[in-house]
Amino acid sequence: MATAEMMGVPRRQARAPFYFQSAAHLIRIGREKASNLGELLEALKVCPDESIFQHTFQTLREHHFIREGFSNDFAHWAFAACNEVGLAERLAGIDVREFMSIAALRQRLVDIVESYLQQNPRARDRAALEPFYFSASEVIVIPTPFVARDLAEFSDGVRHVSLTSIHFHFIDARLRLKLDTNDFSLWLEHELDLGRLADRINRIDIYTSTLHDVRRAILRFVQSALG
């Protein structure tokens, strides 16, 4: 890590504090349902944004403890209910952190399913073992008592907030920020001038780590910056 960036880090005060927040989610049962891949494709085009969010971003939080083999509900259904391994693999390859809007994520999902069905037309109407039920996440943002004005307080907050809070700031944040970063990295870079630390944190792989691992990795990087 660059020495100049790290000089005086322990005492450096942020220009604006970081307010840790959390979120609570209520699942609304959607109207869309798919019994085969053709129906999935049609539903993907018209379901509410909250459904795309639920089955991609939110499901990652609900299954945060799985280190490998779980990416999003669509991939899981394509594999477990439709036995379409090739499609499942392509859907599972979607990294939600590459998307700064639901519209772009929806389009990627549609493109993948559409192209798969063009190559495998018989898969379109083949009945799935279980239907896919679309649902939608209703989110309420919750404040926490943790506020960071410097890196030590940031470390304390990361250590004590819930995993939902980590998910909210680290994964969901892209949709709010419309940037290829997360709340933590943005604050570290803009308020504490810690661009390299911000970048290191932003590159933690959420698909090979649990949220516990993410928390541990952030703390490890921050501790190393604090010396």
Binding site: H64, F65, V139, I142, L175
Partner: protein, 461 residues
């Protein structure tokens, strides 16, 4: 009993038949059968322990989660809720309300629980409705309608409806919606049963009432119907501090195993469920026999329902016949108040099986997962929501598949342990009582307009 005839007479127990009785299979003539110790379960239900306080959950879910609950409740302080169901004791709904209502009140969301009253004729009708909503046959005659509506009317006269939110559990109190006023109160129908394939006549009668609600809550998207109101998903949940799920001292686990003659130095494979064909206990024994060709283990089949249910007794008989004198098959017909014993059996198990052929949600699966056990379960009903194949457990579709998974998991303990760890986390995240409290607080907030849901692409930083 040494004539090899397998009947319920061969039960060994310390009380009336079925009260903590070990159903044991007599040996064939000339074969010495190992004597199992007698279990020591009270013949009467023990007094319920005091309900836990919110802070008691902190070591399990963590302080931040409790802080979230308190924050959500703050905005509802002073609001009042009435929960209504049809029975104060017995049954899953009463069990849930017994825990949910005190926690809501501790959070200062004043929550009352009232039970509707009715004669035998009313409960016969609602039992018929219940079975028909699961797909059974039932004729909704004028007499049936009159009975249902007249008791509804009596309950409406008896009850007051002055709260901010009314939650009706299941079909029995559903028609109390007639007391809905346009100027006050939001109404929620909490349906705990599977409505995926209802009898059209019964659903046709109930639906006009349901359509008047402001929201409906189901346990699975697959159980829901298209309704006029928004529908929400509340998974069934377990209480980690209940007798059936709380942590137990190792000495207690050992004592229960000693009482039932279970050898803990060898693997223990357990299915906990009623003696009911839909739980496929015979299939479990067949899977065990196939697996036993390659791996050593004992099989414990523990449940109830064989004493008060003629079909249960018949299934128990089939189970005993299939067990065929195997001294390593331990069949336990337990009374309903054996929560601690069930808890200990689950904790003593190497693997938990729930090889159901049809299932609602399958809370015994949740219980097994919560205890960090690798679970092998039938891919039916709500089980795949809990058991994500090869991630939080394994799903099977046949006796052979079940046998293979027993062999595989017993010979790959690291993989089995990882499944168990993931399973426990899955329950912690999604199927605990505290998560259910959070869902109720969120729903109340949305219904009462104390907060607005937050679109995922908007927010403050």
């Amino acid at each position: 009993m040494s004539d090899g005839k397998r009947t319920q007479d061969s039960m060994i127990g310390n009380g009336p038949v079925g009260v903590g009785s070990v159903v044991s299979v007599p040996a064939a003539p000339g074969v010495e059968r190992r004597q199992r110790p007698r279990p020591k379960i009270s013949s009467t239900p023990p007094a319920p322990p005091p309900a836990p306080r919110l802070d008691d959950y902190a070591p399990i879910i963590g302080q931040p989660e409790l802080d979230d609950l308190r924050f959500l409740a703050q905005q509802l302080r002073g609001k009042t809720v009435k929960m209504v169901n049809s029975t104060a004791v017995g049954g899953g709904v009463a069990e849930i309300l017994n825990r949910l209502v005190p926690l809501m009140n501790e959070l200062e969301v004043v929550t009352k629980w009232e039970v509707i009253t009715g004669g035998n004729d009313f409960f016969e009708v609602t039992k018929g409705f219940h079975n028909a909503l699961h797909g059974g046959e039932y004729a909704v005659t004028q007499a049936v309608k009159d009975i249902f509506l007249s008791y509804t009317e009596q309950n409406r006269q008896r009850m007051e409806f002055s709260e901010d939110v009314f939650v009706m559990h299941d079909p029995q109190p559903a028609a109390l919606i007639r007391s809905k006023r346009s100027d006050r109160g939001r109404w929620v129908w909490r349906c705990h049963i599977d409505l995926s394939n209802p009898n059209p006549e019964v659903w046709g009668f109930l639906r006009p009432f349901v359509d008047q609600y402001d929201a409906a809550v189901f346990s699975s998207p697959a159980f829901s119907r298209q309704l006029a109101c928004p529908q929400y998903l509340f998974y069934p949940c377990i209480d980690p501090l209940s007798e059936k799920n709380k942590d137990l001292e190792e000495s207690m686990v050992q004592k229960v195993c000693d009482d039932f003659g279970i050898d803990r130095s060898r693997p223990v494979v357990t299915q906990i469920s009623r003696f009911d064909r839909l739980k496929d206990p015979v299939g479990v024994i067949q899977a065990y026999k196939l697996a036993r060709k390659y791996v050593d283990c004992q099989l414990v089949l523990a449940g109830g329902g064989a004493t008060d249910d003629p079909e249960g007794a018949a299934v128990l008989q089939e189970v005993m016949e299939e067990a065929d004198d195997d001294p390593d098959i331990i069949i336990l017909n337990l009374p309903a108040w054996s929560a601690i014993e069930i808890n200990a059996l689950q904790r003593a198990s190497t693997l938990i099986i729930q090889k159901s052929l049809k299932e609602g949600f399958g809370l015994t699966v949740t219980e097994g997962l919560w205890k960090g056990k690798p679970v092998i379960a039938g891919a039916v009903g709500g089980i795949p929501t809990q058991v994500i194949h090869k991630l939080t457990g394994v799903l099977v579709h046949s006796v052979e598949g079940c046998a293979y998974q027993i062999r595989y998991l017993l010979t790959h303990p690291d993989y089995a342990a990882q499944l168990g760890r993931n399973g426990r986390e899955h329950v912690k995240e999604n199927f605990l009582m505290t998560t259910s409290v959070k869902r109720w607080l969120l729903l109340l907030q949305i219904l009462l307009g104390t907060t607005k849901p937050h679109p995922p692409e908007e927010g403050q930083h």
